[in-house]
Symmetry: C2
Subunit: 255 residues, 2 copies
């Protein structure tokens, strides 16, 4: 185990990386999940490893939609469980009608149980999706399974770190889709009604605070989604990344 | 195992991803290597998954330096062995005085032997670095080991997919450093005398062709390195990524 000095400028990112590698060794994450994490890391680096204002705005809008929802579901895969089980438990406590459902791209019964166990250990009371019986249309069998008490009947679905095919299938199935994904150009981000383009734990840590803040106001004051929202959020983040790359390229060229 | 349709626009990238995940399951790659691959994927996506002209120029210049070198060494880690063992063997045949040395960030004797075995199976005759006895200054013990017949006495070192600390230590040790790395802003890219900012297998496939082409000309016509080379190569690639992001952001905003 390599020790990471606290003084390292990217200390948190390196710590997360080491923790994820360990979770993969324990079988919680699929190897493909590690590669996906690396892609996210690259985009977070381009965001400056902090939440841009439009991601905060998107999170606030997402929480308003979750508070208004009839049957909201948060979908959890191996990467989400490895990175943010504690945060999932806190979000579940802050939003008692939000159901938590395990949903794996590389599903095996053992790994579904392993992810559920990780969530329960972190304090999540009810975990759906371990023995799913319904199917989402347009996805191959091992990836299409959903829980009849969860995603099948959900009106709003939160999909952190989701694969593009599933994101699109959920949208086609008439769900209101909230994504959390660092890639501003991924198919998941493009498919979402509200794309939160930000790092998962930063978003999840913010959610309980936003819930408390919105609950303290009349719901007429909560932000409202309009069809142009998604495009506006994506364009602003892309613009921000362009500016940052430009800045980095100037810094690099003088070093 | 998920089947990837040949018609998928990112077929090659997905195939590579599946192959690497498999190699990680077999213990050739460390989990951290998979995360690093993901970061590279994100940058390759921004390059349009093809070699930019400045990467071709850098490769040509690198080959000229290798042909002129007294004792050139190609450093191979788990990711390089998993992605490009066959290409390493072809490059070794094209450049008979180039020595191949195993160099691992997460070194265990078993994994060093595993990487060497992968190279030998692909046709590399001599693999250094399996039982290294010398140390590179400024690196912790498990990462500083080098071979006295290889990197210790090398004048030119090629470091594909290398970690920033090692790249900087090699430069400080007076080596002429040629990097192959998709991240135009990584410390490895910044430390290199010749940064080849491109995907490993594309570069390695090109090397034997360039060797043949240069050998057909008098060496006075081969390209020459000058101190401004590295910065120029980096700036051009960054500019290219900026343009591509701008283009993608326009495309995204109309979809």
């Amino acid at each position: 185990m390599t020790l990471i000095p606290r003084s390292h400028p990217r200390y948190r990112s390196l710590l997360t990386r080491a923790a994820l590698a360990q979770k993969a060794r324990e079988g919680l994450l699929a190897p493909e999940g590690l590669i996906a994490h690396g892609r996210g890391e690259a985009f977070d680096y381009l965001l400056g490893e902090r939440s841009p204002p439009e991601a905060r705005e998107a999170t606030r809008l997402a929480v308003a939609c979750l508070l208004r929802a009839r049957c909201p579901v948060l979908s959890v895969n191996g990467n989400v469980a490895a990175l943010a089980s504690k945060q999932v438990a806190k979000v579940a406590r802050a939003l008692p009608h939000l159901r938590i459902e395990v949903n794996l791209f590389h599903r095996t019964p053992a790994r579904a149980e392993r992810v559920a166990e990780e969530l329960r250990r972190a304090g999540v009371r009810e975990v759906l999706g371990v023995h799913p019986t319904a199917r989402l249309r347009g996805l191959p069998s091992d990836r299409g399974w959903v829980d009849t008490r969860g995603i099948l009947r959900a009106d709003v679905v939160v999909i952190p770190l989701e694969d593009g095919d599933r994101a699109e299938a959920l949208r086609r199935a008439g769900k209101f889709v909230i994504s959390i994904d660092l890639n501003p150009l991924s198919r998941t981000t493009l498919a979402a009604h509200i794309p939160i383009i930000d790092e998962l734990t930063r978003v999840m840590n913010r959610v309980p605070l936003v819930v408390r803040d919105l609950r303290a106001r009349p719901s007429t004051q909560w932000p409202r989604w309009v069809p142009s929202t998604a495009q506006r959020l994506r364009s602003r983040t892309l613009q921000r990344i362009l500016e940052r790359l430009d800045e980095l390229s100037r810094a690099g060229s003088t070093s």
